[in-house]
Amino acid sequence: MISIKNVSKWYGNFQVLTDCTTEVKKGEVVVVCGPSGSGKSTLIKTVNALEPFQKGDIIVDGISIADPKTNLPKLRSRVGMVFQHFELFPHLTITDNLAIAQQKVLGRTREEALDKGLKLLDRVGLKAHAAKFPGQLSGGQQQRVAIARALAMDPIVMLFDEPTSALDPEMVNEVLDVMVQLAQEGMTMMCVTHEMGFARKVASRVIFMDKGKIEEDCSKEEFFGQPRGERAQQFLSKILQH
């Protein structure tokens, strides 16, 4: 589904991604973790071309991101993305946040878009808030709407960029619950997250990044059992300490 091949990226002289290669197969849930500044958010943003890269290629469902002829908006419409800071559109009601791209990008009618949007809103448990604006919801609720908004496009894969790290602790679980459910239904997912409980529960594979490089890429059993690298061991012992 996603094939990342030798991707390198520089900001000026500073290399943020070094020769990253990995794969996400259909139905897999791949968790990407690593210390702050390790390039994990940058890597996931290269997958739907929000971050350009200078070397290598990424193939999403058979389509090359690096190919200048690729219709990026069309490709992105098939890849769902959930952001750290939710990024709902503040001037639109929850209903319109769910409907607008369905109408303007996929060409669905208002009725189809509303029908689909409200079903998904119900699924994330927020049907009662349909007429509200994003600013009137809590962080956890906004993130659940953001997930529903991405799902409304019928994506072939979902990207999550630290979906719970801007949330109050008591709201983390309501978001993770939705994500676990998605994973169990067989959605292909790539998640940048520090939620190791989530990784243990649903991940097919865990990728550990440090200083722009993929240091570990293995099954979760292997990763939590005995990661090979010293950096990964340090990282795990730090975040699992408490």
Binding site: R76, E87, H91, G135, A150
Partner: protein
């Protein structure tokens, strides 16, 4: 001082030997002021939105061109710009076009003033639109693109609706300015409100200039204040429930 004979009814007096009354002159002036300001504002808002948006796009040529536009129109005094459009442009154009501008163009003072003031103001509006767009997070743009919107769609549906809401207060000042700045058009002979005021208090001197100037000042004040109230109404109507803005309240 103290000897001044107040006579507020002066504007209802006849302009000596013309059969016209001073208040009629003021009404004509008010008409041109409002027409010039509104036309200039429509032009300024349309062009300013486009140029301000272009200044923020990733294409270096487009943003560079938009920057050049802004610098050109905001670095030359308004009155000089009006002189350039009115007196210099016809000389630079091919002969036929220049002659048409000088002789056959309908309402030349009005058209020049509306376009000149509109372009001058558009550069200022452009900077405000750019400011509005730049206050939004990169995440908003990314969210729009990630949904599959093209860049123009991302501006249309995601960035500009919030950017315009954010810049309503400075845009209000700009809309008010366009009424006040229209007075500069007297320099090219447009018979707008200030032109009429000078005509009444100068050449025809009804001997009560303070009253006439006061009345004209109050008319400008009412115009600007009406714009201010209209914009306040728009600001209230477009307020986003629950949206947290920075300082204040």
């Amino acid at each position: 001082m103290g000897q001044y004979q107040w006579n507020w009814a002066v504007i209802f007096e006849e302009v000596y030997g013309t059969g016209e009354y001073y208040y009629q002159w003021l009404i004509t002036g008010l008409g041109w002021t409002v027409a010039t300001a509104l036309c200039a504002w429509v032009l300024a808002l349309a062009l300013g939105s486009l140029i301000g948006t272009l200044r923020t796009v990733p294409n270096k040529w487009l943003s560079g061109l938009a920057t050049a536009y802004v610098e050109l129109f905001r670095n030359i005094p308004l009155i000089v710009q009006l002189f350039l459009w009115f007196f210099v442009l016809p000389e630079l154009l091919p002969k036929a076009a220049g002659n048409w501008m000088k002789q056959d163009m309908p309402m030349p003072e009005f058209i020049t003033a509306a376009i000149g003031l509109g372009l001058f103001t558009s550069a200022r509006v452009a900077e405000q639109v750019r400011t509005g767009i730049m206050t939004l997070s990169t995440g908003q743009k990314n969210a729009g693109l990630a949904m599959g919107f093209t860049l123009p769609q991302t501006y249309r549906y995601v960035l500009l609706p919030m950017a315009f809401r954010i810049i309503i207060p400075p845009l209000t000042s700009e809309f008010m300015n366009v009424f006040k700045n229209s007075a500069v058009a007297l320099a090219i002979g447009l018979t707008e409100l200030t032109f009429q005021m000078r005509q009444i208090t100068g050449e025809y001197a009804p001997a009560n200039p303070i009253e006439v100037m006061t009345i004209v000042s109050v008319i400008y004040l009412i115009l600007a204040f009406s714009v201010n109230r209209l914009m306040a109404l728009i600001e209230r109507r477009t307020q986003v429930p629950g949206y947290i803005s920075g300082g204040g309240k």
